[in-house]
């Protein structure tokens, strides 16, 4: 049994369709196997259509609110750089940001009504402990371009110090069988990055 933790709040953010829901489900399963109370707050409906999405995962002795608020997250897991910048205010002082350096341009940028910010990583690094990965090629190398979410979970897992076997169990429980092999590879590549 891994060590008990007091409270752990993780914000997962990205672009609708990137698989934030699966990532939060795997984290929720982890919390369950650790014997913690847990709440996961999800986004369904309109914002899933390519908009910004955010999911909260909270675990600990007793969790009341399903939401994480400003400076409330121990970790922010960002599936896209601009979303990392947008949701940085969720990160606690001293918290860690795990970010995929991929850029997905929002429509206002595509049509030229806004500019994608430059040097986001530098801005992030000036304000937080940042773990940056180029997760899309890593997922592709693992044989599944959609496994970006699990690459990032692997990188998070490395920093959370829970028993690695529990992560693998959670993956097996949450990922459909035909995608399991590529997701296990994606997890390893994130874990070892």
């Amino acid at each position: 049994m891994a060590e008990k933790i007091k409270d752990l709040n993780i914000v997962i953010c990205g672009v609708g369709g990137q698989g934030t829901l699966l990532a939060s489900r795997i984290l929720g399963h982890m919390a369950l196997s650790l014997g913690h109370d847990v709440k996961v707050s999800e986004v369904h409906g309109m914002s899933q259509r390519g908009g910004s999405v955010i999911t909260y995962v909270r675990m600990g002795e007793k969790v009341y609110s399903p939401m994480i608020e400003q400076k409330g997250a121990d970790y922010v897991l960002a599936f896209e750089e601009l979303e990392a910048l947008r949701d940085l205010p969720y990160l606690k002082d001293g918290g860690t940001l795990v970010v995929n350096t991929q850029h997905i341009l929002p429509l206002p940028v595509i049509i030229g009504a806004a500019k994608y910010p430059e040097n986001i990583l530098e801005t992030l690094r000036a304000r937080a402990d940042v773990v940056a990965l180029d997760a899309l090629p890593m997922a592709e190398a693992a044989g599944n371009a959609r496994a970006v979410n699990v690459v990032l979970l692997g990188a998070l897992a490395r920093r959370l110090h829970f028993d690695k076997a529990l992560w693998l169990d959670a993956l097996r429980a949450c990922v459909p069988a035909r995608f399991l092999e590529s997701n296990l590879l994606a997890f390893e590549s994130g874990y070892n990055a």
Binding site: L32, E42, V43, G51, L85
Partner: protein, 579 residues
């Protein structure tokens, strides 16, 4: 073994355990997953269906209850408006098998057109209402709701909000309770609501409510958590969670039953604390009722009527916490939801904008046609409103105005409540042109089948409503089917139909891009040929990317090869794609 369950999944679990035999709904965020989860139980145990709208759904559930079966009917808050007609009278008839109606409110409007508070329906229809605060209570309260329904011979509401319906927390499952179907008995005085009998039932409604009020504490749904007596807080559902975290020392009266209210318990609790606060989202529903009991309290003056509460807000308003102010969001470009790459609606709205038409639109993914760069929509009010509003615009502004006005409505929304609007157009001799954007699914809520798709809730083959024949039968003289991706033809058809006297229906038919599993060959842009005119960007496709120098490229990972951009290009710079 505890399971991590979505609130909606836990409601379905509770209903299953309560022995529900019939589960009916029309999809609506944040309630949809309840019925999707009901459909995962076996057909032998649970009959499940998507109904054309919430009114029909509730009527099916009322019939099932009258037939002795426990029945569940789920809807979003605005769906209750649609179902309100049978609802208010079902309160009179009462039930045989337990009848539970789930109303899922959406404070903050994550995916809704208003923030109405369903608790007032409970009060005005005299229907008891329970409100769970986490997934475990979603399961438990659903079970209890069926008991209460049968014990007091009344439909019972279960009220959810988005943060309960769409949050996962731990649930301990139980066994299904098998209930025997009683023999059917005719009872006109109970179920035929003509004035003579309804008067008798109104007496029964008042009597059962008095009985419920007298026995309310024995139900054990309301809970007092005494702590420091300086502040006592009355709250329910999601607000309870925020209060417990923000004000850990406060005494709390957690209401699990939000109608009727436990007056004696509230009075007793108020007497034990120095200051009584009410913390609730949306309307001052508890607060007004408690003040009407003559008990001083406050809260709404601080929480306001709009949006969601959260822990810091409650702490700031009532806990004397330092005001951290609103979350400082860095100045970054917004990322609004968009029509997906390959979406057939994109072509429809591009043509409508190009033709500079007045567009009365409706509820669904195609509401996004209102967003830049398409900006093609003039109005969205409620399910089905587009057709009636187009007729109203014509009647107000005359025949010529109708020549450049269209209604835009989806296939599922048309069946939900557009058909009667179309009947009105024909009957009252309007000239409206109605575009039915038929993408063969109920898209925004997550691809539920509907009567036009030929599938039922379990994915089985079902009779398919023929929309063309339906419109013809209504008396629409001109009904045409067009592929909106053939933009030139689509535009030509619209010009013809808008110019004609009499009503027309144009069915813009092409399946939702997300239904097509195999993605097409992506398009590419030949940089040598591209003149950087930006014409292709006018369709607002997320796969087209403009660089700083004005050149455009196509993101192959997003492009579905629909070829719409190819049609936009006047120089033949875009190659590839499926068409």
């Amino acid at each position: 073994m505890k399971k991590l369950m979505l609130g909606n999944e836990a409601v379905a679990r509770g209903a299953y355990e309560a022995g529900v035999r019939v589960a009916v709904a029309y999809p609506g965020t944040p309630s949809t997953e309840i019925t999707e989860n009901m459909a995962k139980f076996s057909k032998e145990e649970v009959y499940c269906e998507w109904a054309p709208n919430e009114k029909v759904a509730l009527e099916v559930a009322i019939g099932a209850s009258m037939g002795g079966a426990r029945a569940l009917c789920c809807m979003k808050h605005v769906g209750v408006n649609v179902a309100a007609d049978p609802l208010f009278t079902a309160a009179y008839t009462g039930v045989r098998g337990g009848l539970v109606v789930v109303a899922a409110d959406d404070p903050g409007m994550h995916s809704s057109q208003n923030e109405q508070d369903s608790r007032f329906y409970a009060r005005s229809a005299h229907i008891p209402m329970l409100e769970p605060a986490d997934s475990a209570e979603c399961r438990e309260f659903t079970r209890r709701a069926f008991e209460i329904s049968e014990k007091y011979d009344t439909p019972v509401f279960l009220r959810l909000v988005t943060r309960i319906a769409h949050a996962r927390s731990l649930v301990e499952e139980g066994e299904r309770e098998e209930t025997a179907l009683p023999p059917y008995e005719k009872d006109a005085r109970k179920f035929v609501m003509m004035p003579g009998y309804a008067k008798g039932r109104h007496v029964a409604v008042e009597a059962r409510e008095k009985r419920l009020e007298a026995e309310i504490d024995s139900l054990g749904l309301n809970r007092v958590e005494m702590a420091d007596t300086k502040i006592g807080v009355v709250c329910s559902g999601s607000a309870y969670q925020y209060v417990k975290e923000a004000l850990p020392n406060a005494s709390v009266l957690k209401l699990g039953m939000v109608y009727p209210l436990p007056e004696a318990l509230i009075r007793d609790f108020a007497g034990k604390v120095e200051q009584l606060l009410v913390v609730e989202e949306l309307e001052p529903y508890f607060e007004d009722a408690i003040k009407a009991m003559g008990i001083p309290c406050s809260g709404k003056d601080k929480t306001g009527l709009q949006g969601e509460l959260f822990v810091r807000k409650v702490g700031r308003l009532f806990g004397g916490e330092e005001d951290a102010g609103p979350m400082e969001t860095p100045e970054v470009p917004q990322r609004p939801p968009v029509l997906c790459p390959g979406c057939p609606h994109r072509a429809v709205f591009y043509v409508l904008k190009k033709m500079n038409l007045t567009v009365a639109a409706d509820i669904g993914c195609y509401t996004l046609g209102a967003m830049p760069p398409l900006n093609a929509v003039d109005s969205v009010v409620c399910m089905g409103a587009s057709i009636g509003m187009a007729l109203g615009l014509e009647k107000a502004r005359g025949r010529d105005f109708a020549k450049h006005t269209v209604a835009v409505i989806g296939d599922s929304t048309f069946v939900h409540s557009g058909i009667t609007g179309l009947v009105d157009v024909v009957y009252n001799q309007g000239n409206s042109t109605v575009i039915i954007v038929d993408n063969s699914t109920t898209g925004m809520t997550g691809h539920q089948p509907n009567p036009t798709t030929g599938q039922n809730v379990r994915g089985e083959i079902a009779p398919q409503l023929d929309v063309v024949k339906l419109c013809q039968a209504i008396g629409v003289p001109s009904v045409r089917v067009v592929d909106p991706f053939d933009m030139k033809l689509f535009e030509q058809v619209l010009r013809e139909e808008c110019g004609k006297d009499g009503p027309s229906v144009v069915i813009a038919r092409r399946p939702c891009a997300l239904l097509i599993k195999k993605k097409g060959e992506p398009c590419t842009i030949d940089a040598e040929v591209c003149r950087r005119c930006g014409m292709c960007l006018r369709i607002g496709c997320p796969a087209l990317v403009k660089a700083g120098d004005g050149s455009v490229s196509i993101d192959a990972s997003l492009c579905t090869g629909c070829g719409l951009c190819k049609e936009m290009c006047n120089f033949g710079a875009i190659k590839g794609g499926e068409r």
